[in-house]
């Protein structure tokens, strides 16, 4: 049984122009101790998916349909205190911006011990001792003296390490990291990603990492979910996704990435995807990628929405023209 099974999740936002279908039928599962990467560009619904699961969607948004079963309980049906018990205890979370996620008026120590006392009922002394251990675990030097510092004394990378320490303080079974390294410099990012990896294996904790960066998922995740316009368009193991991407969007996205290694990079052109993602108030009737797709022909692409189907064991794709079934050459732009 998977640790978390999300099924047919729909989250819409009411706006003056109409209802935005931010998450439109997302399903996936994650097993204990594995790392799932959710990747996609701005507005694809990757963050909203996670916020929905955690019950953090506020009006004008609402979860319209679907379920998220975590250890036998549907998170979407839980209310108030029950949900709070799970959040921060069995499921830890870290967000993009370590600068604003910490309270500037409380010491780092207070902010860590707060969680320990709330969820685990520890005494002040116990919590303080555990907080020092946690800071050591996320490799913050001189942990015992840094405990009484305020957040402004910490650099961006260190603050993200503190956020991770808080998130793992109750030994969660699942850690959700939403763009955890986007605000950090590349050398600091490397350290934080390595830390997540280390903690996952030591604590047998499952991790969902949400990012726009294909490099970040490649270096961390076992399984990868590619999202586009509120839907999952491809879901496969990291190896299979990078070796044999199937969806025209995934392929194009990988080719659009500038490379750091190789020859003739300077003289080459990048593959660009024409146009931009569709309006989610009134999404295309057929395949959502069809208007930008190099393979969408005069067939059903523009009319009938393709289903997410298993093209080979463990590799799911939502396209009528996946790479391995393609005979036709790209139509028009390439």
């Amino acid at each position: 049984m998977p640790l978390l099974a999300v099924n047919n999740l729909h989250t819409f936002f009411k706006t003056r122009e109409g209802e935005v279908r931010a998450v439109d039928g997302v399903s996936f599962t994650i097993d204990r101790g594995t790392m799932l990467g959710i990747v996609g560009e701005s507005g694809c619904g990757k963050s909203v998916t996670m916020l929905s699961i955690m019950g953090l969607i506020e009006l004008p948004g609402r979860v319209v349909d679907g379920s998220a079963v975590f250890q036998g309980r549907d998170l979407l049906k839980l209310k108030g205190a029950t949900l709070e018990d799970i959040r921060g205890h069995e499921i830890g979370m870290i967000f993009q911006d370590p600068m604003t996620s910490l309270n500037p008026t409380l010491t780092i120590g207070t902010q860590i011990t707060e969680t320990l006392r709330r969820h685990l009922g520890m005494s002040k002394q116990q919590a303080r001792k555990r907080a020092i251990e946690l800071l050591q675990e996320v490799h913050i030097p001189n942990a015992s003296s840094r405990l009484d510092d305020y957040p402004h004394r910490y650099s961006g990378g260190m603050r993200q390490r503190v956020m991770i320490a808080i998130a793992i303080s109750c030994n969660p079974k699942l850690l959700i990291a939403d763009e955890p390294t986007t605000a950090l410099d590349v050398t600091v990012q490397a350290g934080v990603l390595d830390l997540l990896h280390e903690l996952r294996s030591e604590h047998e904790m499952a991790v969902i990492i949400i990012t726009h960066d294909m490099g970040v998922v490649a270096e961390t995740a076992n399984d990868i979910l590619v999202m586009y316009a509120g839907q999952v368009v491809e879901h496969a193991s990291a190896y299979d996704l990078f070796d044999r991407p199937e969806h025209p969007y995934t392929e194009a996205l990988l080719e659009a990435l500038p490379q750091v290694e190789g020859e003739g990079i300077r003289d080459g052109r990048l593959r660009s995807i024409p146009g931009r993602p569709p309006d989610l108030i009134d999404p295309p009737k057929g395949c959502r990628f069809a208007p930008r797709c190099a393979y969408a022909g005069l067939d059903d692409c523009a009319v009938v929405q393709p289903e997410l189907r298993e093209i080979r064991p463990g590799h799911w794709v939502r396209s009528r023209h996946p790479a391995s079934e393609r005979v036709a050459q790209p139509v028009g732009v390439g």
Binding site: E41, S42, H139, S155, G157, M158, R161, D185, V186, T187, V188, Q189, A190, G191, L193, D194, H197, H212, D213, M214, G215, V216, A218, E219, T220, A221, A238, Y239, F242, A252, L253, L254, A256, L257, P258, Q259, V260, E261, E263, I265, R266, G268, R269, L270, R271, S272, I273, P274, R276
Partner: protein, 298 residues
Amino acid sequence: MTAPEVPRMPTTTGEPLLVVKNLKKYFPIRKGILIDRTVDHVKAVDDVSFEVRAGETLGLVGESGSGKTTSGYCVLQLLKPTSGSVLFNGQELTKMRKAGLRQVRRDLQVVFQDPYASLNPRMTVGDIVSEPLLVHDIGDRRSRRRSAEQLLEVVGFNPDFINRYPHEFSGGQRQRIGIARALALNPSLIVCDEPVSALDVSIQAQILNLLKDLQAEFGLAYLFIAHDLAVVRTMSDRIAVMNRGKIVEEGPAEEVYSNPQDPYSQALLAAVPIPDPRRMRERRAERRKHQDVLAESI
């Protein structure tokens, strides 16, 4: 190219267009309430020298606080350098007055990072793109408008939208407007300060390709400033790596990336996530080798 009224300044190939020597920019740290005194300096740019030749791209890469943007602003004279020399087309910019700089800026333009903040929201697209022509008193109203239409066409922006306002467009489209504005006076060098860092990958590729095409077509030189090592690599002939206000390594792009000499450049390159899961272990091991160089920055 449009704006034929502005003759292109001839540059001999191989001759450096821009020569920056011993550039320093120190920001004072002040203390005291009644008596203001300078207690120390932040050495944002500390003795930096580089050259950009006509038609080539020099990539200036580094992490936040490395001084790359400050260097770019000192070249543009948007910040006054503490000391050092900035020679552009043989003219010393650091000693120039406003009127002289205005003439120089026909040839030396800039594209900013944030396409949301760098376009005046109260001006139409057409007015934004033709403003440089107005400032330099080139042509009349009608010819300026014609130029704006042509410029927009060149950067792949539909000229039918010339009377719209910037907020109606996405980040990628706005960056095209910013690039059209930079091209209006037919410059020989454009300082690009993180031109794609606010954009999604698929849009980023469109803008990078556009910058490459424009360079090939008009022989532009770029001083390309960015933190993303892959983006810099794809754009640059030569690369200078900055760390703590200094250039720690400089050379042909291929050389710097395949065989970095400086310990910081080595650590920086090892830290870049590579989109290939099969190399995850190898990359992690490589990073551990450089841990001591980075330890301070955690």
